[in-house]
């Protein structure tokens, strides 16, 4: 099992302790609210709290006072975040008593709430986002950011809704999305779900691992490990398809279309 070690000395803040909620979704600018539950992390009362919103090359930073005295900024509009995207958030607790600002606690890649109500499990694992530069493509999986995102072509009416809930789209597209995501996790050696349970690779491994017959991905240094891992991915995609009865659902839609 591959494990990563943290030599920085900073504490990890579970994302569940700093939930972020977005407002004005689908408008620009977005605004946000954040709650802090940091009391038992034993952080210095003088340490500063910063909340950062970021996406691609846009970034904003807000000061929320100190651990001992929260100060909520009255203006939390994300005016500098590129329109049409959902930013991720980062909460930093910084000790500035020394000359350099040292990060003593951190929560990163916080996916905000307030988006996509009604599709909780799917959306916490996979984000759907408009894209203007897909050309003739309908969708594309983007794994270059902090969270997996299905980009959908904004030239298609209602495509966001289609990507989230249209059974034909889900049946045809999502198995391949699952395959690509798991392949990415395996390729980048992020296969220990205990490493970071609330980062997206850990969440995805827990999600697929809980399905019948899937379990944890094979790991080790055997020569055959690559094949075993590819087989595991295929079994996970199969289990995913079975869980949501994708074949039945799709055939049902075809019959309905013929009537």
């Amino acid at each position: 099992m591959i494990r990563k070690l943290n030599f920085t000395g900073r504490k990890k803040i579970p994302r569940s302790r700093v939930p972020v909620t977005l407002f004005n979704v689908d408008k620009h600018p977005l605004s946000f609210d954040v709650q802090f539950e940091l009391s038992d992390l034993n952080l210095s009362p003088e340490a500063l709290i910063f909340v950062e919103a970021y996406k691609r090359t846009s970034y904003m930073r807000f000061s929320f006072g100190t651990i001992g005295k929260f100060t909520i900024p009255s203006n939390r509009s994300l005016v500098d975040i590129e329109p049409g995207v959902i930013p991720l958030f980062r909460v930093k607790v910084v000790d500035e008593t020394s000359q350099q600002g040292r990060i003593i606690a951190l929560a990163d890649k916080i996916l905000p709430k307030g988006i996509d109500e009604g599709t909780r499990e799917k959306i916490s694992l996979l984000h759907v986002e408009f894209s203007e530069d897909l050309g003739g493509q309908i969708w594309k999986l983007d794994l270059s950011g902090g969270w997996p995102v299905i980009q959908v072509n904004n030239q298609i009416d209602l495509i966001k809704e289609i990507a989230r809930s249209d059974m034909a789209f889900i049946a045809l597209v999502y198995p391949e999305v699952v395959r690509k995501i798991l392949n990415h996790i395996i390729e980048s050696d992020e296969i220990d779900p205990e490493l970071d349970e609330d980062d997206w690779p850990g969440m995805w491994l827990n999600f697929v691992g809980s399905m019948p017959g899937v379990g944890s991905p094979p790991s080790g240094r055997d020569a055959s490990i690559k094949n075993d891992q590819m087989e595991w991915i295929e079994s996970a995609v199969q289990a995913f398809s079975n869980k949501w009865h994708l074949l039945d659902q799709y055939q049902k839609l075809q019959h309905q279309g013929q009537e």
Partner: protein
């Protein structure tokens, strides 16, 4: 002097078609008539004027445009693609000059037509440098050095990384390390893959430091004081600990 306009969808299509044709016949004349033809271009909100002047370098260009465009929306979001594409066609002889044999080397479309996606938007030969200059003013001389018609790889390396281009102090440190004020150009070896402390190594080191330090709250000199000794030969002045 010309009134600034923006290409509409037909105008952008026409410009794109020209760029495509240019790759087959590099002596084709730019379709400048669409700059003022209302079928292909339209007025922008507000008034701005530009003229054909020979820019001595990229900084000259962005400084000129900063003044010329100050009364209109000159953001580089996707909705403003028509403006930047219009400017690219207006200054086409400078962003895509003819070589000695009369041929133009056009490159990818996103160098001339503002890309709607974020990945290549900063690579527009006018809008990319303009945006960087709007953010950081004179501290961008490292990123904006060089001729207009060539992409600056330093700009590309830094502007494509959110944690770099959004942090004024990191941009300032890069300027301190890699810009030769006397020669008014980047120092030799800045983009070397083997020289100690080069830009690519700087990017790696900053990414490491970000795991421990809140670089957004630090002044440039404080970040410099954290850099390992391999950067000493780039002529940095370190603050001593108080």
């Amino acid at each position: 002097m010309a009134q600034v306009r923006k290409l509409n969808l037909q105008g952008i299509d026409r410009f794109r078609e020209y760029l495509s044709d240019l790759s087959e016949n590099s002596e084709l004349v730019p379709p400048r008539e669409i700059l003022t033809d209302s079928i292909y271009s339209e007025k922008v909100n507000g008034q701005a004027h530009v003229e054909i002047i020979k820019f001595s370098n990229r900084i000259h260009m962005v400084e000129y445009l900063s003044t010329a465009l100050e009364s209109i929306d000159s953001s580089i979001g996707a909705k403003n693609g028509g403006l930047w594409s219009w400017l690219s066609l207006f200054y086409f002889d400078q962003v895509c000059p003819q070589g000695l044999n009369g041929e133009r080397k056009v490159g990818r479309d996103y160098r001339h037509i503002l890309d709607k996606g974020y990945r290549h938007r900063h690579r527009h030969l006018i809008a990319g440098p303009y945006m960087t200059h709007q953010m950081y003013g004179e501290k961008t001389r490292l990123l904006l050095s060089g001729p207009i018609h060539q992409e600056n790889r330093i700009h590309h390396e830094l502007a494509a990384r959110q944690e770099f281009i959004t942090n004024r102090s990191i941009i300032e440190v890069a300027d301190t390390l890699y810009f030769d004020s006397q020669q008014n150009r980047p120092k030799r070896g800045t983009l070397s893959k083997i020289k100690a402390g080069s830009l690519l190594r700087f990017i790696d080191v900053i990414r490491q430091l970000e795991l421990t330090y809140d670089l957004y709250s630090m002044q440039a000199q404080k970040i410099i004081s954290l850099l390992p000794d391999e950067f000493n030969e780039w002529g940095i002045f370190r603050l001593t600990e108080q």
